[in-house]
């Protein structure tokens, strides 16, 4: 078994300490950082993502695997930045202004990172302007907006309108999600997508950045 396969399998078992050790070994063996990222960490997370999509494993399994992935990713980050390696895409994420619920949004962030996206997490209680400012500043291609209250859902519309007002639509997509949100609501406010759960959100973001 190669060290890359070993990392991927260890990651799937959620063994964060072991993934850290193995990634360190791989770096010492001069395995290119991009190889470790793509063929070990993301390959492992891809299996996890697929198993999750097929309902073979559940959220805690994904979170454990993601934690193991971070244990390796943290070691790779300085090397990847040095090599200027491109990621799957950059996503700005947050819960809307007036909404302090962030567990769903956090799950989406973890799943997106697991799928190779760079996530700029603005946290909760985020005004529309901050979403769009951050997306422009970081050169993100997707804004992910989460709401858990019907009363805070209108902020999602404000985000979509601001993207349009700044002439960013076409290169900056807005995807929405959260318990009271629906596909119909997404269409009504002119959002580019709706994810009904974390795994589904990743699929939608992937489709948007293609």
């Amino acid at each position: 078994m190669t060290v890359l396969t070993e990392i991927a399998e260890s990651l799937q078992r959620g063994e964060d300490d072991r993934v850290g050790h193995l990634v360190r070994d791989a770096i010492e063996q001069q395995v290119p950082a991009l190889d470790i990222l793509n063929n070990a960490l993301l390959a492992g997370m891809s299996v996890i993502g697929e198993q999750f999509r097929l309902r073979e494993i559940f959220l805690p399994d994904v979170l454990l695997a993601a934690r193991a992935m971070y244990a390796g990713l943290d070691l790779l980050k300085p090397l990847l930045a040095r090599d200027g390696v491109p990621r799957a895409g950059r996503v700005v994420l947050g819960s809307v202004q007036g909404d302090l619920h962030d567990i769903g949004k956090n799950l989406v962030g973890i799943m997106l990172e697991g799928a190779g996206f760079e996530v700029i997490d603005l946290g909760s209680d985020v005004p529309a302007k901050r979403f769009v400012d951050a997306a422009e500043a970081h050169g993100a291609s997707v804004i992910g907006v989460s709401a858990l209250l019907t009363t805070t859902m209108p902020v999602m519309k404000a985000v979509v309108e601001l993207v349009r007002a700044r002439g960013l639509n076409g290169r900056l997509s807005v995807i929405v999600g959260g318990a009271p949100v629906s596909d119909a609501w997404a269409r009504e406010i002119g959002a580019d997508g709706y994810g009904y759960d974390a795994a589904n959100a990743v699929e939608r973001v992937r489709a948007l950045v293609k």
Binding site: L59, D102, Y196
Partner: protein
């Protein structure tokens, strides 16, 4: 603590038992079995053979209650223990002996065939909350004279779980005993590790037919456990008051205990039954009526009071389809049965006054059984005190999804039902085909049939089972048993 339902206080139970004892001693028990009347005579009962009547006495009743075991175990075809009928332990088994099946594909109620029975055994094999097979329905493609032994044969051939069954004739018991001996190897092995329970039904009011009383005696000879299925019909064949019907149930069941214990003291028995109210509007016997369920739970309390394990036909429905009525009556029955600590609960899968089995309902009912079993495990502190550390972790990590505490206790605290129970959000439910309960249940039946693994019985044993059954079929004019696909 285990959550528990009580319907009768000890004073009322004492009175009911005492009235029932008075009835079996003074009014007597009608018994259409001369050999049994002789046995009772020999044990000190007053017998009026011309009137086919035996008058028990306090001593015979006391001895019978004392010698009947407080509990017993059941074992699968490989001899592995699957049941312990004791205390308030609850085991579920499909409702048995339906004459019809609800066809999952057409929605029609029709006569079942061998192929249906094999599918049924395959489904039961994969249901985690259904601990035993019952011979749940009667295949109509064999002569009725062998339909009882034929069900047991198919169950032992395809399934591994023990069987709740019954003989329709005196002769059939011999064959059904031989089928069990083929699996266990010897009479001693069968006595040590019972494989099947036989239902034996008195007739209301307080009568025993030749067949059923002889079945009780024959079971006792081989230490085969018996469940007594007394069936008072409140307001028709028993008093309309629930207490009055309970007195009759107690009298009928006490007489059954006496028969089994004089045949062989120590024979394992279940204090069972299938009482019902009588619905005067439709002239039917609703098993889903709350009063029926109350009688079930109450007589189980009486059985436990006497120190015996119990059984009931509860957690079934009178609906004709897998509909909301089926769910409410089955769910309510299973919950009450579990809270009452009825040791063997016969009902899952059954519809239409115990006359129709449904495989689709069975997979749904399996989830009901799982939920009620969780219910009676109750709420217990685990790693909960002191509480501060886990809350410190929650505040620090923002969630506990992957906390060690969660991983340690998730599966023991929370049961996750199979795919027949819909817990998806609306969007996901739509994406997965917006399946109704009926459709999800049909998929699950198909999945279980496909996932079935053949029984691990040796070819010698399965060959012997088939030899016994073929000989029996030939004896009743059937040259060959029905074709079986696999």
């Amino acid at each position: 603590m285990r959550p528990t339902l009580r319907l009768l206080d000890d004073g009322l139970i004492d009175r009911i038992v005492s009235e029932a004892r008075d009835i079996v001693c003074t009014l007597g028990v009608e018994i259409h079995n001369p050999g049994l009347l002789d046995m009772l005579d020999a044990h000190g009962a007053r017998v009026d053979k011309a009137a086919a009547r035996a008058f028990l006495n306090e001593s015979i009743v006391d001895r019978a209650i004392a010698s009947a075991p407080a509990g017993f175990k059941l074992y699968d075809v490989h001899g592995r223990q699957t049941h312990h009928f004791s205390g308030d332990q609850v085991h579920f088994t499909p409702g048995s002996a339906a004459i019809n099946i609800l066809d999952g594909e057409t929605g029609a109620i029709r006569k079942p065939t061998t192929a249906d029975y094999i599918r049924y055994v395959k489904v039961v094999s994969g249901l985690p909350h259904i601990a035993s097979q019952s011979t749940a329905f009667i295949p109509a493609d064999v002569p009725s004279r062998i339909s009882d032994s034929y069900r047991l044969y198919l169950s032992l051939l395809y399934g591994e779980k023990p069987v709740v069954t019954g003989a329709f004739t005196i002769e059939a018991f011999e064959v059904m005993k031989d089928l069990q001996l083929a699996v266990r190897g010897s009479e001693q092995a069968l006595a040590e590790k019972p494989l099947a329970i036989f239902s034996c039904c008195p007739t209301a009011p307080i009568k025993w037919s030749d067949v059923t009383s002889q079945n009780v005696i024959d079971c006792a000879r081989y230490s085969v456990p018996v469940e007594f299925v007394s069936m008072p019909l409140s307001g028709f064949m028993s008093p309309v008051t629930l207490v009055g019907s309970l007195v009759q149930h107690t009298a009928e069941t006490l007489s059954g205990v006496v028969i089994s214990q004089i045949a062989r003291p120590g024979t394992p028995v279940l204090w069972g039954g299938s009482p019902a109210i009588f619905d005067i509007r439709y002239e039917t016997t609703p098993m889903g009526a709350i009063e029926t369920m109350m009688m079930d739970c109450a007589y189980s309390e009486i059985g436990h009071f006497l120190g015996l394990p119990t059984q009931a036909y509860i957690s079934l429905s009178d609906a004709k389809q897998l509909d909301a009525q089926a769910g409410l009556e089955t769910g309510m029955g299973a919950t009450l049965a579990a809270l009452s600590g009825i040791n063997s609960v016969s009902g899952p899968g059954m519809l239409d006054f115990e006359s129709c089995q449904s495989l689709e309902k069975l997979v749904v009912d399996n989830e009901i059984c799982g939920m009620t079993k969780r219910l009676v495990r109750g709420i217990e502190p685990r790693d909960d005190f002191p509480a501060r550390p886990i809350f410190e972790e929650l505040l620090r990590e923002k969630h506990l999804l992957i906390a060690k505490h969660t991983r340690r206790h998730l599966r023991e605290e929370i049961g996750f039902p199979g795919p027949v129970i819909d817990r998806a959000n609306h969007a996901r439910w739509l994406e997965e085909g917006a399946l109704t309960l009926g459709a999800r249940a049909r998929h699950e039946v198909a999945r279980l049939v496909a996932a079935y693994q053949p029984s691990g019985l040796s070819a010698d044993v399965t060959g012997e089972l088939t030899r016994i059954m073929q000989a029996e079929a030939r004896r009743h004019g059937m040259d060959a048993l029905p074709e079986r696909a696999t």
